[in-house]
Symmetry: C2
Subunit: 432 residues, 2 copies
């Protein structure tokens, strides 16, 4: 029995996928039964000049022809972006193809449409490669970990921002300088906004939250803050206080009875003793908490041809193995998508968390007392207020709170901004 693959795209992910499939020796023996049947891309010339030197008979620019080809069993979408990816996926599903995709953007935005169509057509949509590169995290969430009552999924899911933050900490460097260098070295895109503004991480946590908590997620409900406001001074103070600053993507169950979630992306002070604190450079890690398993964490390279292709081929293998023994139209319940409602997401004002805040104030007696009073007025309990030094004429004061409701905390900040003795509030960061 041979399974025929239609591969859309021969860039980083598509090329890596083809490379694994073309060299099956030393890998799972089932890979010998998987055949690259068609490879589509925008430029025939680029396909023909690819270092893999694929047979010309496989190559085409007719992507529609691939997704409608009756010979093809599984369509691998590795072109990225929203369109034409979305339309091609839907057309492939309508033609009864199983789908493997690395496209977090299209799944996070159109997952509802795509999974509904797939369930109707009786086909699988596999997306291990969409989060965490080669790290197996989607499959464990759907299978092994699903016997737990999950309370949180959180992680470092964007390598570019973790690389920048790691270097800012190691070199005591400024965000703009390190970003520029990362762009030169190819670790950040020319237009870095998808990464540094947290949008890529938001796509990924929407997918993880949906799997962990069994409800679809509206991307617009995901609170998202990037790292461009993180200051070298805050990284230094955080380190003294026992924290590393990481861009965390977090999905938590706030109210399991009502199925209300908190789903958010923001720079976060992570205690040095926490397993996510030591994840550095381009590495990703996803931590999952549940009852009765406690905490488990998955760690590895979150991007790149090899890791991502490993996840794509793992999905192909999984679908092929399941089809091999179970050719009926009944879908394997642990591979298919079963939830169809949307989860309720709590507004960020309802979040309960600790905060780290840095103030610049006049160097006058009584300022710390005024800050404390404003926080008290809004029920914000303080763990520490420390005058850390001076910036020119101004005093620098760092405040760390206990767990407080974000809405209350923001009201306190609004009141503090009206104080004459307060110059500015350069940093507000959440603490894990």
């Amino acid at each position: 029995m041979t399974f025929k693959i239609g591969l859309l795209g021969l860039g980083t992910v598509g090329g890596g996928t083809a490379e694994i499939l073309l060299s099956p020796q030393g890998r799972n023996p089932l890979l010998r039964e998987i055949e690259i049947y068609r490879v589509g891309g925008r430029s025939l010339e680029r396909l023909q000049n690819h270092p893999l030197a694929l047979s010309a008979a496989l190559l085409t620019t007719d992507l529609e022809g691939i997704v409608t080809d009756p010979e093809i069993d599984i369509v691998v979408e590795a072109i990225g972006g929203i369109e034409p990816a979305r339309s091609l996926l839907l057309k492939a599903i309508a033609h009864g193809k199983h789908i493997v995709t690395a496209n977090k953007a299209v799944i996070a935005r159109y997952g509802d449409e795509i999974f509904t169509a797939a369930n109707q057509a009786g086909v699988y949509v596999a997306l291990e490669a969409s989060v965490g590169g080669g790290i197996p995290v989607i499959q464990p969430l759907k299978q092994a970990l699903s016997v737990n009552r999950l309370s949180a999924v959180m992680g470092i899911v964007n390598g570019t921002t973790n690389y920048i933050l790691t270097r800012m900490q190691a070199e005591k460097g400024k965000f703009a300088d390190i970003l520029a260098d990362a762009q030169k070295l190819g670790y950040a895109e020319a237009d870095p906004s998808t990464d540094v503004d947290g949008l890529d991480a938001a796509d990924k946590i929407a997918i993880l939250a949906s799997l962990a908590f069994g409800g679809r997620i509206k991307l617009a409900d995901v609170y998202c803050e990037g790292i461009s406001q993180v200051d070298a001074a805050d990284i230094a103070y955080a380190e003294k206080l026992g924290f590393n600053i990481k861009l965390l993507a977090i999905a938590q169950s706030c109210d399991p009875e009502a199925n209300i979630l908190s789903v958010r992306v923001h720079p976060t002070l992570v205690p040095h003793t926490h397993p996510l604190a030591s994840v550095s450079g381009v590495y990703n890690a996803i931590l999952i908490e549940g009852e009765p398993i406690g905490q488990v964490m998955f760690y590895g390279r979150g991007a790149g041809a090899g890791p991502t292709a490993s996840a794509v081929v793992a999905d192909i293998l999984n679908i092929a193995a399941t089809l091999k023994t179970q050719p009926a139209p009944a879908l394997h319940p642990l591979l298919s998508c079963s939830h169809q409602h949307y989860s309720a997401i709590a507004p960020i004002a309802d979040l309960v968390t600790r905060f780290y805040t840095r103030f610049l104030t006049q160097d006058l007696p009584g300022v710390i007392g005024k800050l404390g009073t404003c926080f008290g007025n809004h029920n914000v309990s303080i763990e520490s207020i420390v005058q850390t030094g001076f910036q020119g004429e101004l005093s620098e004061i760092v405040v760390v709170t206990h767990d407080v409701r974000e809405g209350n905390f923001r009201q306190a900040l609004d009141e503090i901004r009206t104080l004459n003795s307060v110059d500015s509030i350069p940093s507000v960061l959440r603490v894990l």
Copy 2:
């Protein structure tokens, strides 16, 4: 469709398993189709007095009756130990039951017999709980990671020894004192030899090596050294040199062409920057290296009722889901065991590794030269020789080598032992 479970044993693992199955709300909906049909143990009184208060009709001391009961689909073996576990497993398989077990000892010793019988009978033997508690590592190895050419699997797979080593490092304490305290606190058994001598870790790495490299492993071929010889002084020196000492279980491919492996358990100096270095206390972690994925690591609690039961129930779920859609006798190729040969294991003398060694010598000029000459005679290349201090009249000298063949290194040590100026060699440890 309901799947009937026969549960052997209601101790830590069996009790945890029953607890999950009896409270399916908030977990994978498929768990509602799984029924605890019989629970067997040695003492009926103890079964009856269990806090879960199971219906008396479920309880029995007739374990043979469970494994031969035609109503039962899946036998969960949670009694541990070699016999009667092995015989009960084989009888259950002969009666067409699928098996879920947490019993690393019986799988590491009788895996060949058990998997051969299971393949003949057309049943699954699932063993996620046998390594790393609740951490999903067996399934990723069989499925997602199997598309890679794996080169190494290594990890911290014994929580007791990691707890002891972590405390020795934090408190600068002696092995015997910390062990005694760990026994008082319930982190170590009254007879601690299975843990501290590395035997438990050896069972687990035999299982992981077998899955990663597709060949069965003779337990007698696994080289095994425990932690009782690790001295507080070595932990302190290692820390200064940039290492933590961990009991690592390691399986590496030495020669992929000839399928020759190195499989071993020993205390190891792990560089502070390595992801395994920061795994502390009772936590476990397993690192897997392959092409093209690179490194991935799985981290979590390696023992305890909750984590282990999570893995047991995940296996039950997986088998039930597969049976649900594929009731035919054809086994799912990614869940069944496909290899039947034994892997060749290289003798420890052929290992190529770095060494850390501590010598006590006379305080005479020329001793370091003599050590260097002996190492040179046997082709052992030295990275550093440092006189670290004194113990009474004797000089203490720490040597770190480059990568060397262990056989050569041992010959050099034999020659060094004949030197008059050398008093003793208190420590020989491998470096990752």
